[in-house]
């Protein structure tokens, strides 16, 4: 596996590590596994922060909620099926119930009648939850921005969104890119929930 190869390589040829060990860096500068490997004669000791490991685990197993309202749902289905398989990235099962889902991918237009339903589903999801607005309609109302009496001009009027995808509909590669972006956001500790959590802890410390 790529992970093991990276760890081995870093131990054999110490590159840009800190004084305690080598960080497990993969392509793109994002750590494949957070932490530093402290080399010992019989292998190594991985020293890490639990928060980072939790973020790593959460990001690699996000289960999406099926929420395709409109044409973007077809692209989402094609991302889920064999050709552009998203379960390689951990989005293994698309849960039908919001109680067991982590991420809601809003694939499609949100109309005025659907907005309270979307709000209710989002409220029923358990923390930590993330939102991806897929396509032009969920981002800003899309082609229905002008002269429409019934479309909510962007899903972020209803729920807070983490990642926006442009496209009408976005290609499956674009959806995969956004999923990876969300994963990187979670690993780096930058999603809205994590910032809220960390600022809450700081406030309690006062």
């Amino acid at each position: 596996m790529t992970d093991k190869n990276n760890i081995q390589n870093n131990i054999e040829s110490p590159a840009s590590g800190s004084e305690h060990g080598n960080s497990v860096i993969g392509e793109g500068g994002i750590p494949v596994f957070p932490g530093l490997v402290h080399p010992t004669p019989s292998g190594g000791i991985l020293v890490t922060a639990i928060d980072d490991v939790i973020n790593w685990a959460r990001s690699n197993s996000l289960w999406p909620l099926v929420f395709g309202t409109s044409c973007c749902a077809i692209e989402m289905m094609s991302t889920a099926s064999a050709k552009y398989d998203w379960s390689r990235f951990g989005f293994e099962v698309a849960r039908a119930t919001p109680r067991q889902a982590d991420v809601i991918i809003i694939a499609g237009t949100i109309v005025n009648k659907m907005a309270p339903v979307l709000r209710r589903l989002y409220d029923q999801m358990a923390d930590p939850k993330y939102v991806i607005a897929m396509g032009a309609c969920a981002t800003s109302g899309g082609p229905f921005f002008y002269n429409t009496y019934s479309v909510v001009k962007g899903a972020d009027h209803v729920i807070p969104v983490d990642v926006y995808i442009a496209g009408c509909p976005p290609r499956p590669e674009a959806l995969l890119h956004s999923l990876i972006t969300l994963q990187n956001k979670i690993k780096a500790g930058l999603t809205r929930e994590q910032i809220k959590e960390s600022s809450k802890v700081e406030n309690e410390g006062h």
Binding site: K113, Y149, V151, K153
Partner: protein, 152 residues
């Protein structure tokens, strides 16, 4: 029957009908008051036998409304388009839901979006729009909604 034969037969049934040229199917323009008898004869006459209404809609030209019906026969496989002008302020036409049952829902949709009153319709009320939209006909050209509609 070809378009020519249909044109001949229909002008025998309804002398006041006028035909539009061009287009794949025969387009018939008629008065709204003749619609009841005309639609019955379209379905019942054995050589016409139009038993499949596959589209029922309305078009808002700014001066008037036009009802458009697309009819086909499943036995002869000929298709015609029937159009009828309606006055914007008094938009009324006879229902065809007793002839072609699918018209029940389509006429409800035209009622809620354009405000056309269908006479003798068994159940004329809003179909998809939520409660509180009676009387507001969103697909009319003069519909204004300053809250939701952003003007281009």
């Amino acid at each position: 029957m070809t378009n020519e034969e249909l044109k001949k037969r229909i002008s025998e049934i309804l002398p006041g009908a006028s035909f539009e040229e061009g287009g794949q199917w025969l387009n018939i323009n008629m008065e709204a008051k003749d619609w009841r008898s005309f639609s019955n004869s379209l379905r019942d006459l054995p050589e016409l036998n139009f038993d499949y209404l596959f589209c029922l809609t309305c078009v808002d030209w700014k001066t008037h409304l036009t009802m458009v019906y697309h009819l086909e026969s499943t036995t002869y496989r000929h298709t015609i388009v029937v159009k009828s002008k309606l006055d914007r302020n008094a938009a009324e036409i006879e229902t065809v839901s007793n002839i072609w049952r699918t018209a029940e829902f389509h006429e409800r949709e035209v009622y809620e979006l354009f405000g056309v009153n269908f006479l003798n319709h068994p159940d004329l009320r809003l179909l998809i729009l939520p409660d509180g939209w009676e009387g507001k006909n969103p697909l009319r050209k003069d519909f204004e909604d300053p809250v939701n509609m952003i003007k281009l």
